[in-house]
Amino acid sequence: MTEAKALIFEMSNPGRRAYSLPESDVPDKEASEYLPEDMLRQTPADLPEVSELDLIRHYTELSRRNHGIDNGFYPLGSCTMKYNPKIHEDVARYLGFSNIHPYQPEESVQGALQLMYELQRDLAEITGMDRVTLQSAAGAQGEWTGLMMIKAYHESRGDTKRDKVIVPDSAHGTNPASATVAGFQAVTVKSNEEGLVSVASLKEAVGDDTAALMLTNPNTLGLFEREIKEIADIVHEAGGLIYYDGANANAILGQARPGDMGFDVVHLNLHKTFTTPHGGGGPGSGPVGVKDILAPFLPKPVVGKGSRGYYLDDDIPQSIGRIKAYHGNFGMLVRAYTYIRTMGPDGLRRVSEDAVLNANYLMKKLQPYFDVPYQQFCKHEFVLSGNRQKKLGVRTLDMAKRLLDFGVHPPTIYFPLIVDECMMIEPTETESKETLDRFVEGMIQIAREAEDCPEDVQEAPHHTMIKRLDEVTAARKPVLRWTKE
């Protein structure tokens, strides 16, 4: 069907309409009567003219080309693409949550405030922190918020020369970026041969200019930083604070708490660990938890509880200020709260157990066919290297494209940078053994094809609507706008 591939502009037929409006009962006025001449368009906008049915078919067809967790397996490492239970959608649509306004009087939104208050408390308990802000709208904003609080903390003590943030080379790319945006200089420490932070390099890197160390634990290789206590001590003794990037919190949920490991600040990604929808641009939610020493600098307001019920507490004189309009992405807070309440403590512990079990199952099954650079037990994710296949002329990118033919979203590739031809695989806890086995079969088939018929992989995908894209030309000479010839 040609219509399926046509742009909506190409389907246009002059005069066709997808709407019909009743006659206006107020007098028509020319736009020039409202707006200055130089603000008015001189040529028609040339919008597509299509029927309602054409329009519906066009967007429905586009939506069918998407891949989401509701369509198939999505083992995108460090992104925790797990099932988002549909009960969250029911609860988020309760009128008391969906039909309220941020400027409503507090006494009329007590339920919403109670939910936020309890979510603050639950996330503090889960992370081992003392206080939590729910404002930030994403993981990276959480990182920035945490770093700004760290900065305010040092400055409040008159300690103004701390301008460096230490980041391991296996860290998420957002860590050095957030440090830079927050006005720090990012300093990299190298991992050791086990893929963990080198304590010796860290000792050399810290000093009286260290503001903080940012760490993901387990790290992007899926490995738990066993020396975490010593790492935290080294940074603290140098006068710095230690930041926990919660991207991989799915691995430790209910098992271990960043607060107990010595971390001073934590952000969580509700859109990863706490099953709010992820991908397609969000909205995300990245609450930040802090130890008491940083509480005076929390963004305001936070939700408090007093004799007259729940209220928005603006009385934080040393606050870094408001970081997001209103009160964060409230709908996401409702979903995460629902998740915590429906799972309960035992359910949340089971999440991390199954996530780690699934990742180790996949790693062991794939080990004979791919290079596994770090062989110890992994946590919720693990990395493979495509080096063996690269020698046959098949790159990791090719294998990722080939996976599309199996209806699987490829894993994260070429990250972390310290692994050659890297594939970072995170199956999550919500996949069945049968799904994992189907993925393993597909990966084994691809490894065989790399040996027997490499061109089948190099030219993949074969069964998708759009075949291999010319990514180089698309990046070098992007055509971002349709123009009428």
């Binding site: 990118l397 070429y414 990250f415 940078l417 050659d420 990514e471 180089v472 990046a475």
Partner: protein
């Protein structure tokens, strides 16, 4: 792998060519461009910018990844390869020629002593 003998090499995969008057031309090695794959964007400093040895001075973006460029020497940028803005593919096609990136007037010529010759660089990348 093409590693001209007359150049010096940094462990961050840049090449350095001495051009007299304390000036050096800088680019990335054949090994680096091959590892990065097709390069789609090169971000360079401006003429007059001061570079500090081992600090980032720009970045190279390929379809695979974005990599920082680390200054192999300290000094002032006196020339920038403007052609790379429109033709980043020059870095892939001719890393030692039309793919050059900047010319720097060194502030501490002793930086050069820390760089490797072609054999030593070759040994380093073969180890990886």
């Amino acid at each position: 792998m093409n590693l001209p003998k007359e150049l010096r090499y940094s462990d961050e995969h840049e090449w350095v060519k001495e051009e007299g008057d304390n000036k050096v031309r800088i680019g990335i090695t054949d090994f680096a461009q091959d590892e990065l794959g097709d390069i789609v964007f090169v971000e360079l400093p401006e003429e007059g910018d001061e570079l500090e040895v081992d600090s980032p001075f720009g970045s190279v973006e390929s379809v695979k990844t974005v990599s920082e460029l680390y200054a192999p020497v300290s000094g002032k940028v006196v020339e920038v390869n403007e052609d790379l803005e429109d033709s980043p593919e020059n870095v892939n096609e001719a890393p030692y020629d039309s793919g050059w990136m900047i010319v720097v007037e060194m502030s501490q010529p002793s930086d050069l002593e820390k760089l490797m010759d072609a054999d030593k660089y070759q040994a380093m990348v073969s180890e990886d």
